[in-house]
């Protein structure tokens, strides 16, 4: 992922170079920063999209190299030290004199980077281990009772009165009574109808005026029951013709 450099005295990734410079294994004087920058820009141009993380990492590494180099080149680092002391108000110990301060920072950062990787491994391994979520019913304070005396009896009575008052204000409830039909009643009804009519009653006439499905079914069942009991007689003169019902005369 890192940019691969090809310089006169060094060939490899940038962070390795910084590492070597920090450890003073490579002489910064022999490294051309402009070459590094040129190669890095070429590398960035070759990437499908700009990775801010990587770009900023480069800026940081390059700045570090530049700083180390500048300190190496300058004959009197005393002025720099003073400036830095002014900038770093929070720095308690004066350890950041010359390039060493930056060098230790970088070394420290590399160390934490490595530790972060170790933590990442742990995070991944431990991510496969699950624990029980807190059961809601058992969480603290879930069923905590009110402190005694928080509610007076009179307040309770008042609350009840409010409820009762609200009830009275409500519109009167209208009751819709359910039509009560029984098989026996309907059988009697059919018999009465047949008795009042001297002529046989047609099937259609018997069912006309029935509005509910329930009554329709009960009437039909009553009809079947009367046939079974041989109380009525059903006749049909022709196929698909009208059906007539009359009392059976015994």
């Amino acid at each position: 992922m890192s940019c691969y450099l090809k310089l006169r005295h060094f060939e490899g990734p940038l962070d390795l170079l910084v590492q070597l410079v920090v450890k003073a294994e490579t002489d910064i004087q022999e490294i051309s920063l402009s070459q590094i920058t040129a190669q890095y820009l070429a590398y960035l141009a070759g990437l499908p999209e700009l990775d801010i993380d990587q770009a900023s990492e480069f800026v940081q590494l390059a700045a570090t190299l530049l700083e180390i180099k500048a300190r190496r080149v300058l004959p009197h680092p005393v002025r720099l030290r003073e400036e830095e002391a002014e900038l770093d108000l929070e720095e308690e110990e004066d350890t950041s004199s010359s390039g060493e301060g930056r060098v230790t920072h970088l070394a420290e950062y590399r160390k934490f980077k490595a530790l972060a990787a170790v933590l990442r491994n742990r995070e991944e391994a431990w991510g496969k281990v699950y624990t029980r979520p807190a059961p809601e019913s058992l969480s603290k304070g879930h069923l905590r009772s009110l402190p005694s005396g928080a509610i007076s009896v009179s307040a309770l009575v008042e609350a009840l009165q409010q409820v009762l008052l609200g009830l009275e204000e409500n519109e009167p409830v209208l009751e819709v009574s359910r039509e009560e039909i029984t098989l026996v009643k309907q059988m009697e009804h059919i018999i009465q109808r047949l008795e009042s009519d001297l002529n046989p009653v047609s099937f259609e006439a018997l069912f006309s005026g029935i509005r509910t499905r329930e009554r329709l079914i009960i009437t039909f069942l009553a009809l079947l029951e009367l046939i079974r009991l041989q109380r009525i007689q059903v006749t049909q003169q022709e196929t698909l013709g009208p059906i007539f019902i009359e009392l059976r005369l015994n």
Binding site: D15, L89, E90, H105, Y109, F112, L115, A116, K128, T131
Partner: protein, 176 residues
């Protein structure tokens, strides 16, 4: 009310571990069961042996200064299939910042930024929000900056019992 028999005590501890959603410390278990801390420790170890036996899907682990029942990593696919947890891994920046805090706590924002070389505001906000770090006072220096430390939640996330269990800081770590 005290639990007299060790088997009963062990069962009681198991029950407590089952209902608890966070690690239970030995002092807590001791307080609830009225058993001595040494006894609790022994019973916990017995339970660990039981759960370490073959054919178990759960284990009793020592984490964040306590004990907690949790699933075995071998069966994570099944757990994930059932519950479909949302995976929210920490970003690289957040992890680096967390590593610095973990090893250097308590630490100020400026000190973190000095090591990382970039601003840490957003990363710190994320870590605070996830309750992996918390503020633990102020440094007695110019400006009295806020100090940050890791939380027990941090230990839980990484399955650590205490900060002493953090991987050692060595320079031999493979840097690349």
């Amino acid at each position: 009310m005290s639990v007299l028999f060790s088997q009963e005590g062990r069962a009681a501890i198991e029950a407590l571990l089952f209902v608890a959603s966070e690690p239970l410390s030995i002092p807590t278990l001791s307080k609830v069961t009225h058993l001595g801390e040494e006894v609790v420790q022994e019973l916990l170890e017995e339970l660990q042996v039981i759960y370490a036996g073959e054919g178990r899907g759960i284990q009793l682990v020592q984490v964040a200064q306590g004990y907690q029942l949790c699933t075995r990593p071998e069966y994570h696919i099944y757990v994930e299939k059932l519950l479909q947890p949302v995976n929210s891994k920490l970003s690289r920046a957040a992890l680096e910042c967390l590593a610095i805090i973990a090893y250097q706590q308590p630490i100020t924002r400026a000190e973190i930024e000095k090591i990382r070389g970039v601003k840490a505001d957003r990363v710190l906000a994320t870590l605070l929000e996830r309750q992996l770090i918390h503020t633990t006072g102020r440094k007695e220096t110019i400006g009295r900056p806020i100090l940050y430390s890791t939380t027990p939640e941090f230990l839980r996330l990484f399955g650590l019992n205490s900060l002493a269990d953090l991987p050692h800081q060595t320079n031999e770590l493979n840097i690349g």
